[in-house]
Amino acid sequence: MQVKKRLQINVAFSIMAAGVIIAMLTTAVHHILNAVETSNIADELVSSVYQQSEFRNEYMWSTNERARVQWFAKHEKIVLLLQSALEKFKDAEDKTIVERMAKDQEPIARIFSSIVENREKPQLNPVLSQEVEDTLVSQMNMKRDNTILDARRLQESASKRLLFSLRTSGWGILCVIITLTAAATVNSWSMGRVITKRITALRNGTAIIGEGNLDQRIDITGDDEFAELSEAFNAMTAKLRSSYLELEKEIDERVKVGQEMRQMATLLEETQSIAHVGGWEVDLEKNALYWTSETYRIHETSPSEYTPTVETAIAFYAPESVPIISSAVSEAIEQGKEFHLELQLVTAKGRLIWVETAGKVIRRDGRVVKVLGVFQDITDRKGAEALRQSSAYHRSLLEASLDPLVTIDANGKITDVNAATEKVTGRSREELISTDFSHYFSEPEKAQAGYRRVFREGQVRDYALDIRQKDGHLTPVLYNASVYRDRAGKVVGVFAAARDISERKKAEDEIKKLNMELETRVLERTAELEAFAYSVSHDLRSPLRSIEGFSLALLEDYAGKLDDMGKDYLNRVRNATMRMGHLIDDLLKLSRVTRIEMKREQVDLSIVAHRIADDLKNRHPERPAQFDIAEGLTAYCDAGLLTVAMENMFSNAWKFSIKASRAVIEFGVTEINGQHAFFVKDNGIGFDMTYANKLFNPFQRLHKTEEFPGTGIGLATVKRIINRHGGQVWIEAKEDKGTTVYFTL
């Protein structure tokens, strides 16, 4: 229930109470008045009646006219009183009494009148008159007593009523008051409790909210003012909260902006400091000059030591620079003219430096209000300019180079090229720089592999690549590339120089072509030679056979006709022809060795040696011979040719060890200078090493034919065969101790 309502109830109660009280009071008063009135009347009646009685008595005593009149006056008064009493006395009983009384008055009056009459008429029988008078008086007395009784009853009743009224009123009012008070108290108390409770809740709620917990809601339900209040509070809290959140957000924004601004400011500071670029601003309205920290630094002073003003700032400049900067600043202020100057300046510490200052203006409403700009120490740059002259010299050298030069960074991107590179790739500098270098080669992967190798090994020489021009035309080049480092020694990239080998390639191709031609010609020659060798051998042999045959025929058929000399001659002839035949055979074999196509395979040389040894033993079973052949010796070679070579070596060993009591021929392998070398060793006659190198020439012999037959072609053949295999052959011998032929394959 609403407090208001409660209060209204209270008020209503009070009003009601007041009304009731008033009513009651009014009633009471009325009643009291009435009672008083009636009491009065009753009193009056009583007194009147007594007075009447007095008057009667008086009359009786004195038969006073005045008394009679007063008695009748009184009578009238009593009647009047009784009339009013009739009105006034509400009670039925009373009313009855009053009516009785009233009714009695007439008789009383008549009685008195009779009395009076009696008195007035004394003549008649005085005694009777006295008796009548007495009777009348006694009647009157009776009536008067009744009246007085009644009047006293009325009085009683009236006063009883009065008391009753008073008491009732009193009690009634008291009750009302008590009830009211109780009701009011209860109401107030309950109201108070509710209010207190709700106020407490409200207070607690608001306290919590007040502490900052804007999510707290006051939980007061109902439909009274407190609920409304709490609703209002909650709404307010909610509103507060959202406002707070918004505020927070805005604050965060502001803070962020502030941070960013601070970051920016720091960045600005840092960049200025790193780049050694300062800023300055002349505010014409405030007539002030602001410097950034870098500007202070360049001047070699600080805000605590010096406050910049336009005049004093200009005073820093060297004497010859002062007029220039002065007029520049003036023109800027007056005409808004921008300036960009390189001047000399003396710092606060007395150092003479070169500075670059540039300024521009800010206008408002067409007037110049600010002049601001940048300020930089360019002493290094001025010094660097001198360097750049030399740098330009170096650059011109690079550009003059005929070899395409290129620098590539650590990511494989071209950082610089010279004119020769532009020409050889058919692309401009701008097209080439920052692109992937491997893109311009016909084999990009090979280019990249070379690039990686440069990093790994520090350099790469004569790395062959083909540069691909824009139109697709290829230029073969050899690259010399190395890593280059910065001043700290860290590898920054690769510097590569290409050597155009197209001419060389062309020459090489020519050579190759010529070689091929040569080869073909050689083959042709060889074929011709083959045919020649063949036909020669065939053609030579034929007459040889004839010579031999007929010499023999002579010897056999005409032996009788020949003397010893003759026979001797013929024998010589025969021997000569035999020799010639061998020569032809050997020549043919040698030529075949050169001609024949080599087919390399794994050949077990030990088996070959065994075969040759067995063959020798079979052919000359009478000779004691021992062959020591190492087993499992294999080589990658042409089986046929190696067989021929080994046959030659073995036959030589066989031949030259004929003088030994027992020929011991060895075949094995040994290690010479880290290489495997096969050898054929005999314990034969050996030879003087002085002539060793001649042995491999065709037909070269170191022994007489009579001692050791042979054409001298064996070793030449062996040499040809071994050389064809890319190996070496050499011979070692000791006179009378034996010979060893070594060969590698």
């Binding site: 051998s537 065939h538 034929s542 056979r545 004839s546 031999e548 045959g549 007929f550 023999l552 025929a553």
Partner: protein, 143 residues
């Protein structure tokens, strides 16, 4: 008795002489017809030209054929011999100085029955001839 003759085809008179001598020394006394080149050899075998009208019933027991000859080389003669029905089965022994593998292989390819090299040493040669003679004339049975 059927006459067993030998056809010797060789352009070298010396070689012919030596061969004949070798045969004699080996006691092979059969008649030897000598053709000095391939053309003559074929003329004999087919009974044409110089040998027109000869008794064709008499065919050589064996033909000793040299390879290197003018006008018609031995291999060609061999081919012709093999290509003709009349002489297809004629035993032919190539006797040559050539030691070339290709000659040997080609000869067999073309159907030679044997390939013998003329050695330089006459003794060897004679021995070879003797063996040839004995084999072809005595041991071997002609088709």
């Amino acid at each position: 008795m059927k006459t067993k003759i030998i056809l010797l085809v060789d352009d070298n008179p010396d070689d012919v002489q030596l061969t004949l001598r070798a045969l004699k020394k080996s006691n092979i006394l059969n008649e030897v017809v000598v053709a000095q080149d391939g053309v003559e050899a074929l003329e004999f075998l087919f009974g044409t030209g110089k040998y027109a009208g000869r008794d064709m019933k008499i065919m050589p027991q064996v033909v000793l054929l040299d390879l290197k000859m003018p006008r018609m080389d031995g291999l060609e003669v061999l081919q012709r011999i093999r290509n003709d029905e009349r002489t297809k089965l004629q035993p032919v022994v190539i006797m040559t100085t050539s030691s070339e593998d290709q000659d040997r292989v080609e000869s067999y390819h073309l159907g030679a029955n044997s390939y013998v090299r003329k050695p330089l040493d006459f003794h060897q040669f004679a021995e070879g001839v003797r063996q040839l003679g004995i084999y072809w004339l005595v041991l071997n049975e002609a088709p």
